[in-house]
Amino acid sequence: MASRKESTSVSSTAMASTGGTLDSPVKQIQIEGLVVLKIIKHYQEEGQGSEVVQGVLLGLVVDDRLEITNCFPFPQHTEDDADFDEVQYQMEMMRSLRHVNIDHLHVGWYQSTYYGSFVSRALLDSQFSYQHAIEESVVLIYDPIKTAQGSLSLKAYRLTPKLMEICKEKDFTPEGLKKANIGFEQMFEEVPIVIKNSHLISVLMWELEDKSTVADKHELLNLSSSNHLEKSLQLLMDRVDDMSQDIVKYNTYSRNLSKQQQQKHQYLQRRQQENAQRQSRGEPPLPEEDISKLFKPPQPPPRMDTLLIAGQINNYCQNVKEFTSQNLGKLFMAEALQGHN
């Protein structure tokens, strides 16, 4: 990640020269059709199953709008070419693109997802480094499975300022998170997306729509649901298991902590009593000892993972909810059709 940060810092200086720091945060993202197609293509070519593909987004900020005008994929690398230099590749890519007069400003990255499972530590870390370097950068999450069902699923996320703070401080202890007052709901914020094509392309589309016969196939109306739901539930269940484990861990921690507190308390009291006795006998009080040495507080479990899991669970739930509500609608429709016939 560090390397990537380096590269981004280069570009950010470049950007700074153009626009300086953002006066107003990005409120909307405008994506070129080209980018969407490129991402879909990338996934179809390289990512299969639960494999994840990633790439770089290029574009620029206009007012409160982030325009993403182009992208290029990270190459899939295998074990053999471990010494492959990603940074070098990116720089090369961007330089080449600049040569053909394409926007070359780094504004974020994209990633495909498998049944909506993308809220992870890795994503958090890279998004943080991006956002740390380039404030406006976002991550585009492309869900190929939903897309295959008939509706394009593309979402842009970025970290909330609060989470940025925490990540900067790297304080993931319960106390730290508590102080930051952050919940899983406030970790990521979604930015609305608009897909924009040039007029020429729109014209072409109109033209094509008339000619094509493919459009008869309506994936959208597929009634089968159990497969997708099952997968989702399976994943959800795994997350829930993780969550349970984390909670148990945390539980143990807090119990240990309170036990130790009690011991500490007792110890102090005993000390006090002894001192009082000594005083009454006219002896000097016992020397103060370092209590923290005597009672080493147990290592608090990092809570960020739990937060992420919660976020992920939330995500799954949204997915399932969305999916089932759609399906329900479809079922009613089908029923109505049945009745009509």
């Binding site: 539930l233 909670i247 807090s254």
Partner: protein
């Protein structure tokens, strides 16, 4: 040659010592005298003898001195001389190596040790001894002990055959003596020599005196005796005073030497006498004095001479001419009894003594009372024979014991006027023949109980696979006979408590035996041509009737809980053994033993375990598979069936328990002939588990919360699965596992062939008394359960299935099939309905889809999660604010919503249950 010489010199030394003995009146002078004597000898013989002889002479002289010191009880002197002797012996080592250890040396060592031991045990004498002497005594004793260790074998050999040396002596002596004294005299002296009493010098002197009395001085006066004693005393003190200057710690003894000899001769005869003598020293001294006074010649000698035990024994018991009456015998009896339990008492000899006493009593017609009393004591001492609890009786002892008890019972039966009891005080006994009935203290019941325990012990300690075991087991009949006789006896005379106890004994010998006669009779076979003996046998009472009668008596009369508990358990066991399942079960349930058996002592618990196991096996025979499984579950699930049934110790525990515990546990073991076959037990358990578990598994294949009915069975299945290559089953377990696999597929024929075949028959099924019936039951069960399994497993494949087909497939009658399926439908195990006109089962597809299953699982997991979360929250409340920074109110609300969630979840669950997917309890199976 050398040997001759050696003995020669030896005899010489003896000679001189005998000379000493003959002149004991001037003990002060003896020492010098003997020295002089030896000097003379040396002078005369020096010319002839070689270096070896010189050495030996030196030794001999020292020995002589020691013997003298022993005689006068001068311990310090003894010690001094002994040390010198040792040194001298070392010096002559090379000669000794060449020639072997001279026998006289060994004799001295043995004698000295015995003498010292005797002195040591004579507490009185020790007290009287002055300090130096006492000190020297202990030192010397230790020294000699250590020293003698090197000569153990020689000493043992000598002790075995002391006569030899004595004879040699005599031989030597006779010619020498013959010149100076008459034959008779020589004899006497030699005898006296042999006779010399070890105990006390006074005694020794007495003998010597008598010897003299017969020879030189016809009458020795008591005064002399006294004088002697005094002299010795003064001498002792004097010598000790002398030595004390130089060597404080040393002691010496003298007069001891002869003792050895006396002991040896006695050893040939009866060793116990010695002990008795010690006990009754005074008495005897008087006696002897009397005798001496009365009969100076032959008569008196007879007694002394008595190398033969019997001759000696009798006079020992009763002085000759004493009128033997009850009182005297009782007195004697008590005397013998006093030695009982004391250290060093020869128990075997004691028994002999009792026998002799009994014989005397019988001879003199002292009546049955005394006889009974003696018998009691004989049996008691027989039991006492083994000092520790773990050891068991030797066969001959055991036989003797049985005989004795039998005889005792004979007497008791013959003579109605004998009252025996523990509570009859010793002094209120009436043993003499009189008009009053005899009253004897003693408890025959205790004796018989002890005998029974001994019998168990013998059986426990015999290798169960040896012929010896069979031989021992044959005694069981006698034991039972005795118990039976006692039972009849006590029924007339005993108290209720005693009757209860003896009944329990009887029950204990009955409950585990299968009553083949009754069994045959119940089958109606007894009319067939049986030998007369058989018929006679079958005329006896059924063991069931006996058990019933005895147990009921105990239930009614017993006041100790333990006897009743045991009786109940035995009764149940007996019922179960004879397939009276309902009686057995009801009795078990009524007794409420299951609740509090863990408070009972281990033997009762073992009995309880045995009973439960027998109950389970009985249930199995009756086809109550579930009951069988439940009864066996506890024993089998622990994997320690062997230990729990008291049929062997597990090696695993060896390290955990120490030797003491192990011994205790060993004592608890059930004798082999009462064992329950463990393989049969395990097989019954596994087959029951199979019959229960396989259909259950089939029914709940997708149930996440499925519970195992039998862990052990699952374990076996897993072991079977782990096998990389499955050969044909060999062991019983493998058979059951293979059968289970077949049953899982609903293939009852294969299952049947695995469970019931040649191998399994010989291993297991033939062990049942009604093997054929059990097998039939088993086949039927297998068919039924296979049918159920088949329906569970394959119902999803069928839309409908005809009952005729099913009945054909499983070779069951239509009604049976019908009833099984109906039951399954009613229990909501099978989603189907019966179509009456076509006789088909129509399946309803209602299993949850995998998605539904998944959702259920998720719900469960979420429940867990919520629970965990709640726990965290509970901890948080109060001390720290919530991690999510909720305020109190928010947390509370949150909690409520959790609860709501949970409730709805539960509702969901219960709704589901109503839908009938959830497994119903197996109860109504």
């Amino acid at each position: 040659m050398s040997r001759f010489f050696a003995t020669g010199s030896d005899s010489e030394s003896e000679e001189s010592s005998s000379a000493d003995e003959i002149t004991p009146k001037a003990p002060g002078a003896t020492f010098k005298q003997s020295l002089l004597l030896s000097d003379d000898e040396e002078d005369t013989k020096r010319v002839v003898r070689s270096a070896k002889d010189k050495r030996f002479e030196e030794l001999t002289n020292l020995i002589k001195t020691i013997r003298n010191a022993m005689k006068i009880r001068d311990m310090s002197k003894c010690l001094e001389e002994f040390e010198q002797l040792c040194r001298a012996f070392l010096k002559s080592k090379n000669i000794v190596d060449k020639e072997g250890i001279p026998p006289f040396y060994i004799r001295l060592l043995a004698d000295l040790e015995d003498y010292l031991n005797q002195l040591w045990e004579d507490k009185e004498g020790k007290k009287k001894m002055n300090k130096n002497n006492a000190k020297a005594l202990s030192t010397l004793r230790q020294k000699i002990r250590k020293y003698n260790r090197d000569f153990e074998s020689e000493i043992a050999a000598y002790k075995e055959n002391p006569q030899e040396s004595a004879d040699e002596e005599e031989e030597e002596k006779e010619p020498e003596d013959s010149g100076s004294s008459s034959d008779s005299e020589g004899e006497v002296s030699s005898k006296s020599f042999l006779k010399k009493k070890p105990e006390a010098p006074s005694e020794a002197t007495k003998f010597l005196k008598t010897a003299k009395g017969s020879g030189d001085e016809s009458s020795s006066s008591d005064e002399d005796d006294d004088d002697d004693d005094e002299d010795w005393g003064s001498d002792q003190s004097g010598s000790s005073g002398e030595t004390s200057d130089k060597e404080e710690g040393k002691t010496s003894s003298m007069s001891v030497l002869f003792l050895k000899k006396a002991q040896d001769t006695e050893k040939l005869g009866v060793r116990k006498e010695e002990r008795k003598k010690k006990l009754k020293q005074k008495e005897r001294i008087e006696e002897e004095a009397e005798e001496e006074g009365g009969e100076e010649s032959g008569g008196g000698w007879e007694k002394v001479k008595g190398g033969v035990p019997l001759v000696k024994e009798k006079p020992k018991m009763f002085a000759k001419g004493t009128e033997i009456n009850t009182a005297v015998v009782v007195k004697k009896l008590n005397e013998i009894l006093q030695a009982r339990g004391k250290k060093g008492t020869d128990r075997a000899a004691q028994i002999e003594l009792f026998h002799a006493l009994a014989a005397i009593a019988a001879e003199n017609n002292l009546g049955q009372g005394i006889l009974v009393k003696i018998k009691f004591n004989i049996i008691a001492s027989l039991y006492d024979y083994n000092p520790n609890l773990a050891a068991f009786m030797k066969p001959d002892m055991w036989k003797k014991c049985l005989d004795c008890i039998d005889e005792l019972l004979d007497i008791l039966f013959e003579h109605n006027n004998i009252f025996i009891g523990e509570n009859i005080a010793e002094d209120s006994e009436n043993l003499a023949v009189s008009d009053q009935p005899f009253r004897v203290r003693g408890c025959i019941l205790t004796l018989v109980e002890r005998m029974d325990e001994e019998f168990t012990k013998i059986m426990q300690n015999t290798d169960p696979h040896s012929q010896e075991y069979v031989d021992n087991l044959k005694d069981e009949g006698r034991v039972c006979g005795i118990v039976d006789r006692l039972l009849t006896y006590l029924e007339n005379k005993g108290s209720t408590e005693e009757i209860c106890r003896v009944y329990l004994r009887r029950i204990m010998h009955t409950y585990y035996k299968f009553d083949y006669k009754a069994h045959r009779r119940s089958l109606g076979l007894q009319g067939e041509t049986k030998s007369e003996q058989d018929q006679e046998e079958s005329e006896g009472e059924d063991s069931a009737v006996i058990m019933d009668r005895l147990c009921k008596f105990i239930y009614a009369k017993d006041r100790t809980d333990r006897i009743r508990t045991c009786a109940i358990l035995c009764h149940i066991y007996h019922h179960a053994l004879h397939s009276r399942w309902y009686q057995a079960r009801d009795l078990m349930l009524m007794s409420h033993l299951q609740d509090n058996i863990q408070h009972a002592d281990p033997p009762v618990q073992i009995l309880y375990n045995r009973t439960m196991v027998q109950l389970g096996i009985c249930a199995f025979r009756q086809g109550m598979i579930k009951d069988a499984h439940n009864a066996l579950l506890d024993i089998q699930s622990s994997g320690r069936a062997k230990e729990l049934l008291g049929q062997g110790l597990l090696m695993r525990n060896m390290q955990e328990r120490n030797a003491e515990q192990e011994k205790i546990e060993k004592r608890r073991q059930v004798p082999f002939h009462m064992h329950i076959n463990l393989e049969l037990l395990e097989c019954v358990y596994l087959v029951s588990a199979m019959l229960l578990e396989i259909p259950y598994m089939a029914a709940h294949e997708f149930d996440a919360r499925r519970r195992m009915i039998s862990k052990q069975f699952h374990h076996q299945l897993r072991v079977g699965e782990r096998q990389p290559l499955l050969g044909p089953p060999e062991s019983m377990r493998e058979h059951v596992v293979a059968a289970s696999k077949a049953m899982k597929m609903g293939d009852w024929r294969t299952c049947h062939s695995f469970i019931i075949n040649e191998k399994m028959n010989s291993k297991v099924w033939d062990l049942f008394p009604e093997a054929q019936r059990v097998r039939e039951m088993l086949v039927r069960k297998i068919q039924e359960e296979s049918l159920r399994t088949y329906l569970f497993t394959y119902s999803s494949v069928y839309d409908s299935i005809s009952m005729a087909t099913l009945s054909e497939m499983f070779e069951l009658e239509m009604p049976t099939v019908h009833s099984i399926i109906s039951k399954m439908i009613i229990n909501e195990e099978l989603m189907a309905s019966l179509d009456q006109p076509t006789q088909t089962v129509v399946m309803h597809r209602t299993e949850p889809t995998s998605l539904q299953n998944m959702a259920l699982q998720l719900a469960e997991k979420l429940g867990n999660l919520v629970e965990n979360n709640e726990r965290v929250f509970d901890l948080k409340q109060g001390v720290y604010g919530g991690y999510f920074n909720r305020d109190q109110k928010g947390g509370y609300q949150q909690k409520q919503s959790y609860q709501r969630d949970q409730k709805s979840y539960q509702q969901k669950q219960s709704g589901y249950q109503r839908g009938g997917y959830r497994n119903q309890n197996q109860g109504n199976y």
